[in-house]
Structure formats: C-alpha cells, structure tokens
Symmetry: C2
Subunit: 397 residues, 2 copies
C-alpha cells in the first residue's frame, strides 16, 4: 500500500522523476509513474524541486552542543588539551544536559535533510555514561525518522584515566554501536598499549572503530602503520574509520599514494571536516586509491568551536571550498557525494540511496542542479525520513 506519492520532482540529471513510498521504503521511482490508487496515500506535488538522497552526517558530537541555547562565550586556550580540559570543567559547572542538547541539534539536522547521522558521545570518568544515556534517549525519541549511530568516545583519553576502558566497555553493552578512540601517541602517550586496548575492546564487542587522529606529520603516519599491523593481525578489515587524518595531507604524492593503497587494502575509510586551517587528506588521491572519504562537521557550536551547522549542504560547500571544486560536475560527484553516498559507505548505513528497496530518505530542494544546491545551500522544500514527511513545503513538521 503506497503511503506517499511524490510527483513532478527532478533527478540530478535534470529529468522528471516521481517517487512512491510504502512502509518506509522506496517502492517505485521513475518518470511519469501512474497515479496511485491508494486513497490514503499522501500526495506531494514537488513542482520541479530537485531530488537528493537523504543527507549523511558522518562525524558530529550531538552531546556537546549548545545549539539553541544562550551563546557560549569562548575564551579557551588553543591547544588540544586546553580544549579538552576546558570542556570537562564547563560541563561540571554548567549542568549541561546532553539529552536536551542532542535532541535540539538532531531535530535541526532532520529539518535540514539529514536522515543518517553518526555521533560521537563523550565517555569519561567525570561524566560516566550520562552523555550516552542522553543521546540514547534522543535516538529513541527520533527512532521513526533519524537513523543514528552512536560512537562511545573517550574524549579525555584512555590510558591516563583509570576506569575509562571499563566505561567504554559498558557503553558498548548499553547501546553504543561503534568504539571511538583518540590520538594514541599525542594523548595516550603509549601508542602500543593504547591501540592494543582499542582493538581488544572492539574485538570483544565485534564492533567497528572510529578513531580521531589529530596527530600531525610522521607521528600520525606512525599511528596509521601501527593500526594497519593490527587490522591485518585481527582481521579487522573494513571495520576501521579514521577521522581527521590531517597527517595524510602533509605527505608528498608518492608517499601518500603508497599509504593510501595500504589503507584501501585494509578497508580503512576516512572522514574529514575539510578544515580551512589544517592539512586534509588528498581527496582525489583517496578516490583513485579506492579509499572512501566522507564529510562531517565535528562539533557544532560547543565549547570547542563556535562554527558548524546542521546543514550538510553547507558542509558540502566547505568541502568544495577546501578542495577548490568549482565545476558543476565536481560539486555533484565529489562535494555532494561526501555528504551522501560516501557517508553511507564510510559509516555503513544500509539500504541507502535513490533506488527501489532503499529506505525512503528524500530531500527536495529549490535548485536546478546539485552544484546550485550545494553552493546556495538550497532551501529544503520537503524532507522525507524513513518514509515520514518531516519538512512539508518548507515548514518542519
């Protein structure tokens, strides 16, 4: 039984397209579909709006945000440890509620067309599993629409803070999907012990890993090598994501190519925020090597950074700017791809895309093509998440 009948949309190639949805899935997709006979079906005339697949956020921190709350005045130092310490202190003082914060931001993501999202949730010996519980509640609240993966993330490091490993273990038992980790050299100061602990815990839970690797230059490359050794030894191919990976942007082309070939073989995927002020993984070389690379915000308006937006088309624009993508074909096939298909591939979101049988995650925007959608961060006219209309004619439901 058709529940949703969308007519007069336009596909990325400019041709007319209609979409039929039933039980949260796309059941028909094509030009000039015959009208549904289901009287109960909701009908949408897209009036020529451009059809995109649901947007994918591959790396954010819903639990940290002050989105929708009073402006946070940032007067923090500039080192990574300054920001980690500042946040832990602020949380203790402010009574920050990770449940309410994550729900407000997740709803903003949905309204902007993000239907799949991977969020890293702070697990540490001060907060315990409080942030996880808040974000689990948000996932429950939005379970009908937003497909959310939760990463148990030890923001303050593991080895130096006794009890953290046990908390991560508990978090993975309580509903986190992925084990997060942080700079084994620069933060944990003992890369062998750190990575051994990480892979042992992932192995125990049979879960994927997503490691935040800020380590620059040779230090970062060393960490990549240590990870590759362990992936091979443990058969963890295809289960490791490396976020940030600034060091890959510092290598000459030949060395980058050699390392990327090893990453492709190990099925290691990457996520970048495309930061304007840092080196970034070489996007085109990653594509040539077969290394998946997706885009994410990292934190959005939190004690770390005032920047970021739940609009993944804006993140695609930042990717376009960072990698100097100016042609329409580049904006569609690379920038937009990083926040759609690449995101789904990197995070492992299933039943993704614009084809029959996929989850009905649809975004209809006011743009003539993908390039315009990205650059203008085109207005979301309709958003359908898991078959449910969450934005209707520009108005969030």
């Amino acid at each position: 039984m058709t529940t949703l009948d969308i007519r007069n949309a336009r596909a990325l190639d400019g041709t007319p397209v209609d979409v039929r949805v039933a039980q949260g899935r796309i059941v028909a997709l094509g030009a000039s579909l015959p009208a549904t006979k289901d009287a109960a079906a909701r009908r949408i005339d897209a009036r020529g709006a451009l059809l995109l697949p649901g947007l994918v956020e591959s790396h954010t921190h819903l639990d940290k945000t002050v989105w929708g709350m009073p402006w946070y005045v940032n007067a923090c130092g500039t080192r990574l440890v300054d920001r980690i310490d500042n946040e832990r202190q602020w949380r203790a003082q402010s009574g920050h509620d990770a449940g309410a914060a994550s729900l407000a931001l997740a709803r903003a993501f949905l309204a902007a067309g993000t239907t799949r999202l991977r969020t890293h949730v702070d697990i540490d010996t001060d907060a315990g599993l409080r942030h996880l519980d808040g974000v689990l509640a948000t996932r429950d609240t939005l379970a009908d629409t937003l497909d959310m993966q939760i990463v148990a993330f030890p923001q303050s490091g593991v080895l130096d803070r006794a009890g953290t490993l046990e908390l991560l273990d508990a978090a993975l038992s309580r509903g986190a999907d992925v084990l997060g980790w942080l700079d084994p050299c620069a933060i944990d100061r003992d890369p062998k012990a750190s990575l051994d602990a990480m892979f042992a815990l992932a192995d125990k839970h049979g879960c994927p890993v997503d490691i935040h690797l800020h380590e620059p230059g040779e230090m970062g490359v060393f960490t990549f090598e240590l990870m590759l050794e362990r992936i091979a030894a443990l058969g963890m191919q295809g289960k490791v994501v490396v976020s940030h990976a600034f060091c890959l942007g510092e290598l000459d082309a030949a060395r980058a190519q050699a390392l990327l070939a090893r990453l492709a073989q190990a099925g290691v995927a990457l996520v970048t925020t495309a930061p304007p002020s840092r080196t970034v993984p070489p996007l085109l070389a990653c594509r040539r090597a077969g290394v998946a690379l997706a885009g994410g915000n990292d934190g959005i308006r939190d004690t770390w950074t005032p920047y970021g937006s739940p609009d993944m088309l804006e993140r695609a624009m930042m990717i376009g700017l960072r990698y100097n993508l100016r042609r329409d074909d580049e904006l569609e096939q690379i920038a937009l791809d990083c926040v759609t298909h690449q995101g789904a591939a990197v995070c492992g979101f299933e039943h993704y895309g614009l084809q029959v049988g996929a989850r009905a995650d649809l975004v209809l925007v006011d743009a003539v093509n993908a390039a315009q959608a990205v650059v203008t961060r085109a207005p979301r006219r309709w958003v359908v998440a898991n078959g449910r209309v969450v934005v209707s004619d520009g108005v969030p439901a």
Copy 2:
C-alpha cells in the same frame, strides 16, 4: 536637525547605546540620549539589537556576477588562463550586461549591511569600457547610500594585448578611482616593463594601485621586491594595495617578518579572501608588523567561481575559519575587524566608524556579541547607509 533617532541598541561591549543621525552623519552616540525634539525625525526602537559599523567589502567584481540570474553551469578548466579565456568568451556570447548585474549584486550587498565597497571592473580590448560604464551607472543609482570605489582592472593582462594601457588610462579619466593590475610575471611575462607601466599610469593620474598578485612562492616575493623598489623611487608610499598575496603564506616566519616590515614601511596594504584551498598572508604577523589586512570576496557567483556571498559577515566567518579564530575576542577584534575598520583603512574610505562626525553607516543585528554575529551571520534587523534606512525591521526598503 535630527533625521534619525535610534534607541535601545547595544554596543559591542554589551552596554546600551542610542544613535542620532543628521545630514547623513552621526551627530550623537551614547547611553540614554535625551529624546530628540525634531518631530520629523524617524524613530527606531532597536529592541536590544547589536550595533555594528557599516560592513566593508574590499575586493569584489560586481561586473562579472550572475547573481540573481539563471544558474551558470561551470565546466571550465582549472588554470588561471583557462578561467580568463573562458570568461572573455562567455561574455562575448552571452551578452552579459555589467550594469544590470552589478546593480543586482550591489543591492544585495546593501541589504546585508555593506555600505562601502571596492569593486574591480574588467577593462580589456574586447569589452573596452562597457563594464566600466555599467558599474558607473550602478554607482550613480546608489550614490545616496553605497560608497563605491571602482578599480580599472585589466583582467586579461596588459602587455600582451595592445590597446589595454590606453583603455585603462581612459577608464581612470572617466571615473575609475584606482588602477588595478595583474601578475606582472605570470601573466604579463615581463615584470619590469609591466610594473613600470603600472606605476607610470598611476603616477600620471595620481591614483592608488590595487594589484592582484596570485604568483606563488619566490615569483611572488620577487614581484613584491620590484614593487617596493618603485614605491620608494616614486614616493608611492601608502598608495599600493596587494590583493591575494598567496606567496606571503609560503615564507618561514623570519622571512615573512622581514618582508612585512618592508611592506609596513612602504604603507603597502593587503586584501585576502581567506581561501581555504590556498596559502594566505600570515594575519597575526601582519598585525604585529603594522601591515593592514582586509577581507573581500573576490568574484561572487560568476564564471570563475560558484562561491561567494554579498554577506560580509559570512566573509568574516570564512576568515575566522581560515585563520582558526575560535575565541570570541578573536572573532571581534580580528575577523569582524577585517570586514569593517581594516577594510576602511586599506581602501581609504573616509569618515568611517561608530563615532560622532562619521558617515552614518550602521548595521543592527540579532546577536549578543560580535562573535555570534559573525558565526551565525546574524539577521540584519536595520541597515542605515549614509543616514538612510535601507533595511527596516528585517525588510529591505
């Protein structure tokens, strides 16, 4: 006689402030001013909106834009010469109207709070002075509100295209304020002859120079040295702006410091778009050396680039992202400064700022402080340009 009486605004330091305007100037500014007795005065209750000075665009190309027109599909090559040739061909085919284009974009700038603007106008042997005439018409149309400087800019180079120098000469006689120029090595292929011609023409008209210097590394540094020699010889101190200056971001700290000291002595100022994909002048070192550095868009949605926005708060955000400015004080004193006071200083816009006697260029935004205004690109609640209200309670006049 007071013409405009703004009450209940907030200054950047958070204190209440009222503003009185007469004959296009600020005549009083302070907390709790007594109510004006002029019955004809327009009264605005700012309801706590944050008061910023008029925003300044230090480098754009109004004449090139397709803003407000059908989407331009970019399928151009990636070299500088590809983009120059592509644009010239497109202009010849499309019948692009630089007058209509520049007016649409200039109005969008005004509506977003930009009250001072320097635009580079293409002068070449194909288009002649047609673009100049279009932009001069736009300047006339908006003369009551927008303070516009016009740069006669030889986008296709000078030495290789006979007749260009004479057209630049004619443009400066016809109303252009500033002589523009382009890569003396990389484009003109004869830096001595190119720079000699540039300085001779500027000297003849007694006008400032604004040179687009894309040349990387040692080539760019060489051009800087040649310019410094000529500035000293001709007494052109304080009359040269260098836009882009990517090469300054490639030098080690000691060499950058030495060159910046020479630029400061010669009164050379810089403009950056803060491009995420290129090296940029070291902003903090420029400040320490006393070299003014302002922000600009460069082209906005034209055949060169799909990016850019007439919103100078968005440009300030891009500056903040490129230079990794995260603290509220940095966003106010550096990022916002680049699109306000630094812009006025670099371009030489007079009577600028929030003080009695200055031109009444005022922007009232929905933000608690400058950092929030930049990061959220806060809604413009009221915009006053030269004493005239061009946005009223969020609605362009």
